[in-house]
């Protein structure tokens, strides 16, 4: 059951990731492929007993960030033009393809070296309580720094938006 689900989610994730870069015809299709990819990744997180991370993945990435992408695409009404100038950059394309092939080969080699079995986790792993305790004890400094960073981002966004209005 688990292995079957793993394959379903993995194939969906990879196929939709290819769809993101492959559908030059319509940016909407790219964004939707991204959503499917995010959802498949969330499924993989849940399979790895990290339910909280999986849910946040759905809520934040699939449910909010890609919605914003779509919002911008719709607002600018990008239809059919594709990524501007993507066809006229053969060197960039070649480098991208090379990196992708190298990464795939490296990944395949790692996977072939030894297939880890499904992990056994202790009781309570990946629950809201466990994540909360980890965040507010072991990683409290990182959480605070991230919070300040986000606040700075929000303030910066307000400042930039204000300038345009005035």
């Amino acid at each position: 059951m688990r292995t079957a689900l793993f394959w379903i989610f993995s194939i969906a994730a990879v196929a939709s990731a290819l769809g993101v870069v492959g559908s030059l015809r319509s940016p909407i299709n790219s964004a939707l492929s991204l959503v499917v990819s995010m959802l498949a990744l969330a499924g993989l997180y849940v399979l790895l007993e990290a339910q909280f991370v999986g849910l946040i993945q759905v809520m934040v990435y699939a449910g909010a960030i890609v919605v914003l992408f779509l919002f911008v695409i719709m607002l600018l009404n990008l239809r059919g033009s594709g990524a501007a100038g993507a066809e006229s950059q053969p060197i960039a394309k070649a480098i991208g393809a090379l990196v992708a092939v190298a990464a795939t080969l490296w990944l395949a080699r790692t996977l072939a070296a030894g297939r880890a079995p499904w992990p056994d986790v202790e009781e309570g792993f990946g629950t809201t309580r466990a994540i909360g305790e980890a965040l507010y004890t072991d990683y409290v400094l990182s959480v605070q720094v991230a919070g300040v960073l986000l606040l700075a981002g929000i303030v910066a966004a307000v400042v930039l938006a204000k300038k345009k209005i005035d």
């Binding site: 909407i28 909280f52 849910l55 809520m59 449910g63 909010a64 919605v67 919002f71 009404n77």
Partner: protein, 385 residues
């Protein structure tokens, strides 16, 4: 044993839920008619039998199923087909985590009245609900219609805005109860606290005074967090896109907004999605703020224990289960009525009013609520320890 009872609850739930949607059309018509001094739906009949207009939902369904299903020229056929399903499925799925009763032991079976008792229950509802945005957003775009596009843009902006406030309003509640699991919330809300217990604590009144022991308040979410109850309701209603938050479908400006190009049962699915969401909102609020399936001042475990000598263990559990489901349904129906009341007494908000309410009122208030709740918890802990 556990799996078999889960299937029973899934089946019952699907049945009740899908029956709710057509009945809601009747409730909506009759209530709006009452509020506007009209008679309301009363024409559809079978052999002259009108049943207070209850035949109308049946007539609606037959009409919608037999209507021509049009696909406009230049539409994105796949997205146009799939959007109504994306819009309606999350509403149904989010019911999976809502408990409509506790867990009962009878005739050797272990019957939990919830489909999936998840550790992160409320978050699951939020996550699934955030997917519903796509159903509305893609609908307007896929139809190749400018009014639809405007509706899509409005709906996505509105839903993202209110998702932020939605999550933050209920943080205070989770801080008090220390859990996201909806069944735990239901059990915890059966507790009571003494309203004037602090008088005794500070020694202002003698310990064991009768009236202090008598005046108790159930620990319902709405008692502990009264303002967030209404903020949460507001945010949920905005997510549901019904009046007064229906700018995305504002018919006087953009005809029907995002679902303008839908006809027949696909249009019906959008309507159904909205009505099911009304029920989901009522059920979620009941489970989180109104004590779930329990009566106020009644601890369910004690109740079953006191019934056991009279009825026997199995019958006591069964009676408690039947009572729980009815109490839950009653609260849900009251909240549905309340939502209908709001929907038919308020005019549509202007778009900037909707945005201001979300970002400038709900969000700051809910952030302030977190700070105040944290202070309250610290004070209570400091006093009682």
């Amino acid at each position: 044993m556990a799996t078999s009872t889960v299937w029973v609850s899934i089946f019952l739930f699907a049945l009740v839920l899908l029956a709710f949607a057509p009945i809601m059309t009747w409730v909506e018509r009759k209530q709006s008619a009452l509020m506007q001094d009209r008679i309301g739906a009363n024409r559809a009949s079978i052999l002259g039998f009108k049943a207070l207009g209850l035949i109308h939902p049946l007539a609606d369904v037959i009409k919608m199923i037999t209507k021509e299903d049009t696909i406009p020229t230049g539409a994105h056929r796949f997205l146009h087909f799939v959007s109504p399903f994306i819009a309606v499925a999350p509403a149904i799925i989010s019911f999976a985590v809502i408990p409509y009763g506790g867990t009962y032991e009878m005739w050797g079976a272990h019957v939990p009245l919830v489909v999936a008792d998840l550790d992160y229950g409320v978050l699951f509802v939020f996550a699934i609900g955030s997917i519903a945005t796509y159903g509305s957003m893609l609908a307007g775009w896929a139809g190749n219609n400018n009014f639809g596009m405007l509706g899509s843009i409005r709906v996505s902006a509105q839903m993202i805005s209110y998702e932020v406030a939605l999550g933050i309003t209920v943080v205070g509640l989770f801080m008090i109860f220390g859990t996201l699991r909806l069944t735990d919330l239901g059990v915890m809300q059966q507790e009571t606290f003494r309203l004037f217990g602090f008088l005794e604590h500070f020694g202002w009144v003698e310990a064991g005074t009768k009236w202090i022991e008598w005046i108790t308040i159930p620990m319902w979410g709405i008692v502990l967090q009264p303002l967030p109850f209404f903020m949460f309701l507001t945010a949920l209603m905005a997510e549901n896109k019904r009046a007064p938050f229906d700018t995305p479908e504002g018919e006087s400006e953009i005809v029907a907004g995002y679902f303008i190009e839908y006809s027949g049962m696909k249009f019906g699915l959008y309507m159904m999605g909205e009505w099911i969401e009304v029920v989901v909102i009522a059920a979620l609020l009941t489970a989180m703020f109104l004590g779930g399936w329990s009566l106020p001042w009644v601890n369910e475990a004690n109740m079953i224990a006191s019934w056991t000598p009279v009825l026997g263990e199995n019958m006591a559990n069964l009676a408690a289960m039947v009572l729980a489901v009815h109490v839950f349904l009653f609260k849900v129906i009251v909240l549905i009525w309340f939502q209908m009341l709001i929907r038919w007494s308020m005019p549509r908000f202007r778009y900037d009013q909707v945005m201001n309410l979300g970002w400038k009122i709900l969000l700051p208030l809910s952030l302030a609520n977190i700070v105040i709740t944290a202070l309250g918890i610290l004070i209570v802990q400091g006093v009682t320890s």
